[in-house]
């Protein structure tokens, strides 16, 4: 099986997950859903929680639609734990990873999901809202953002509105179709670039100046990872976001 940015992203997200962690994704999250099922298929022994309330749903059943609120993430679950309770779990420091997305982000980890143009009360473009982000980002041990379109409209020098802010006391990463950023000393820097991209491409598509001259290249997906990916997502639901 060949791979492209979609496969690389799913693999990169899955590699973030460790045994014994509690890991959450929200709605409209086909890439994290695929990545979490992939991590299960690769034998990682973590707890999968999501908005449907299903705890560790049956990952062997492939998703048939892009929605991550469907019973595909409920059926076969070992217990029920609703979103209200998941937020409480996070607020008491017991969620290890939240996978979240965004519309815009600055190098300082300010996330905009609220509006573009105009002001808050008179927006030119009203965005969907940050969902759980503003609460989860400061309280989850590690927030891992995924963003399938890395461009200068999304990776901006500064955001007009900060819906949620990365907490430099917590882990914070951003995984895109081109690279992985990690928060260090309050600023995002490139941790690795994907083999399907280059540092030059990352620089050309990022709205702030990246001064790093060399960065590691992430390991390409292994044959085992790609085979597991094909098994958990035969319907290619991950491509809904590309």
């Amino acid at each position: 099986m060949t791979y492209g940015p979609a496969e690389m992203m799913c693999v990169a997200l899955a590699r973030e997950i460790q045994d014994r962690q509690v890991v959450f994704h929200g709605l409209a999250s086909p890439v994290p859903m695929t990545a979490m099922k992939l991590a299960k298929a690769l034998g990682k022994n973590f707890t999968y929680v999501n908005i449907t309330g299903g705890v560790d749903p049956d990952w062997t059943k492939p998703a048939v639609i892009g929605s991550t609120l469907s019973t595909n993430l409920y059926e076969g679950a070992v217990a029920n734990y609703g979103l209200d309770e998941i937020f409480d779990l996070a607020c008491t420091g017991r969620v290890d990873i939240s996978f979240l997305s965004l519309v815009q982000i600055s190098q300082a980890g300010e996330i905009n999901m609220t509006h573009i143009g105009g002001d808050y009360h008179h927006p030119k473009v009203r965005l969907p809202g940050g969902a759980g982000s503003a609460t989860l980002t400061p309280v989850t041990k590690q927030t891992t953002i995924w963003k399938t379109k890395h461009d200068k409209n999304s990776f901006v020098p500064e955001v007009q509105f900060c819906t949620a802010k990365a907490d430099s006391a917590k882990g914070f990463k951003v995984i895109t179709n081109l690279c992985v950023f990690v928060m260090k000393n309050g600023l995002l820097e490139v941790e690795s670039v994907f083999p399907t991209s280059s540092l030059e491409e990352v620089k050309n598509n990022t709205g702030w100046e990246i001064t790093q001259e060399t960065v590691p290249v992430a390991s390409a997906p292994t044959a085992e990872e790609l085979a597991a990916l094909d098994k958990v997502d035969p319907n290619r639901i991950r491509y809904v976001e590309f």
């Binding site: 409209a28 609120l69 009203r126 969907p128």
Partner: protein, 271 residues
């Protein structure tokens, strides 16, 4: 117990101008869609909608101009169906005021209402511009015990929770199968609840496993039998994919300012 069975027309008439409502489900899942279309046809004014993640039902009420304020964490239809077009348009045009929380902030506000308190603390939110932008909803206070700063939200009590379920009896005892989202909290926070249901079942059936009946009759004002009442969205286990043609015709209707025509066709059983 008293029978609460009524028609969709009569149940929608219960909602008055200026009231606050919470609508069941999440994005395109288990919304009281048929109820929302009926209510949209009544052209109520200055409604307020409160919830965590709004979809089709809230969207159609915004699209017809009935909603003065919407409280939300997220508004959208997920992935291929994109952003909630009616909500977006009514906010951008200034018809509807947006009160954005995190989903957690809306849950906290509803918890405050259900506990009979005027406000509630909520976790996180540090660094978010939402807190300083919306002082009518958010305040920061110090714990009276140890000076810890806490973001607080105003408790808001909905007049009505409108909940679409899979099974209910005629008295309003109701079961939600699979995902409950925030619906149980909505019924505890609201003054009264309206149930629309895929199926009417006997009370004896519900008595076999009381724990599954998460909405008791005494909270409920009206029960309406509405098979396929969440369409064009999803309601487990009876229909698990979006009715693509109808959903797209709705999205196009918002785009083309023809939502009234869409509503007429819907109530006549057309597209």
């Amino acid at each position: 117990m008293f029978s609460k069975l009524t028609s969709l027309t009569d149940a929608a008439q219960l909602i008055q101008d200026n009231q606050i409502i919470s609508l069941s489900g999440n994005a395109l899942h288990r919304n009281p869609a048929a109820f929302a279309r009926e209510l949209a046809g009544l052209k109520r004014k200055n409604l307020k909608i409160l919830g965590a993640a709004h979809g089709y039902a809230a969207d159609i009420l915004c699209a017809v101009g009935s909603v003065a304020e919407i409280y939300f964490g997220f508004c959208g239809f997920e992935n291929e169906y994109g952003l909630a077009p009616g909500i977006r348009k009514s906010i951008q045009e200034g018809t509807t005021k947006a009160v954005e929380g995190s989903c957690t902030a809306m849950i906290a506000s509803l918890r405050g209402a259900s506990y009979g308190l005027p406000f509630m603390g909520v976790g996180g939110l540090w660094g978010s511009d939402l807190v300083k932008t919306l002082p009518d909803f958010y305040r920061v206070m110090k714990s009276p015990f140890d000076e810890t700063e806490v973001v607080c939200v105003k408790a808001i009590q909905p007049d009505w929770a409108i909940i679409h379920v899979q099974e209910a009896d005629e008295y309003g005892n109701a079961r939600i199968l699979a995902s409950e989202y925030q619906d149980i909290l909505y019924t505890r926070a609201a003054k009264k609840t309206i149930i629309t249901t895929e199926k009417i079942v006997s009370t004896a059936e519900l008595q076999k496993e009381p724990k599954l009946t998460s909405i008791p009759h005494f909270l409920v004002e009206a029960v309406v039998l509405v098979p396929e009442g969440a369409k064009p969205g999803i309601c487990y286990p009876d229909y698990e994919t979006v009715d693509d043609r109808t959903m797209k015709s709705y999205i196009n209707a918002v785009k083309n300012n023809t939502v009234d025509e869409y509503l007429q066709k819907q109530t006549q059983g057309g597209v």
